[in-house]
Amino acid sequence: MVEMFAAENGLKGDPRLQAISNAIRVVPHFPKQGIMFQDITTLLLDHKAFKHTVDIFVDRYKDMDISVVAGVEARGFMFGPSIALAIGAKFVPLRKPKKLPGEVIAEAYELEYGRDCLEMHVGAVEAGERAIVIDDLVATGGTLSAAIRLLERVGAQVVECGCVIGLREVKGQLRLNGKPLYILVEPREIDGC
């Protein structure tokens, strides 16, 4: 098992985790029937909870000698840069195809139906750099594993992936090539209201 939930890894009972979880909104049947979408935009509206989110990641990574924070487009952009700034690391955006100008490397990954592609700038990251990958949520891990592959292809060492929300792994489903995954909270269920 590669996942580490914050509440079970040093932050047991930390009230910030409850505040973060409470600030996330569940939108049923988005983008399609059956999906309970975990909407972090309400977390971004709650300044204290948003700050807690960033602070927890910063506290975790600031002494790990991390020089690269890679963020997955687009919601990874909302969390990654603040973490990068606080720990003194570069921020490297990992983007959908054709968004990054100049020379890129690309990595394809599987979707439920079909494939997609993630790109990173050539030269953004050097061999030997220690990197983390940040996104709002991890589901199957397809996007994160493409991100890991991109960074490893240029010789970076991916130390960990950090996500605000993640499911407890259904055995064998999570594909992170053995990389550790640190998750703040589990998905919210829709309550009666």
Binding site: L44, H47, F50, R75, A84, L85, F91, V92, P101, G102
Partner: protein
Amino acid sequence: MATQDEQDPRISKISSAIRVIPNFPKPGIMFQDITTLLLDTKAFRDTIDLFVERYRGKDISVVAGIEARGFIFGPPIALAIGAKFVPMRKPNKLPGEVISEEYSLEYGTDKMEMHVGAVQAGERALIIDDLIATGGTLCAAIRLLERVGVHVVECACVIELPELKGRERLGDKPLFVLVSST
């Protein structure tokens, strides 16, 4: 003043950290690439600090950032000044109820969306993007916020392309930029 009066000493490092890519996304366009700025930890820090110094203590409760590069600069500013961050997104990305505003592109139109309930009437807001060109996207963002009764205090960008006259297109809305690129 719309830009820095006497140039703050941090500006020249910020300017030189920005990479220009010719002929992207199409021939004739000199693309201002801020990703190299994000790789320069001091220059990126200085960029955020310059905005935070300007807006801290001005009773701004909303920082709206335009997808996607506005998402890189907006949240650190929002966190530092104690404001909410509100993403202004392309169509069908935001779940739940949204309001949308159409705007013109060189060829055709596009749409920008904001969540219903993200902001309240009377709130004071900034709009952040990496760059202002024609001002079309910023104007759409201004309209979205004003439609729900928000007061847009200023638009703030890292880079301005003055030849494209975006500043005029914003009309009476002030624009603050760090770097003007001719």
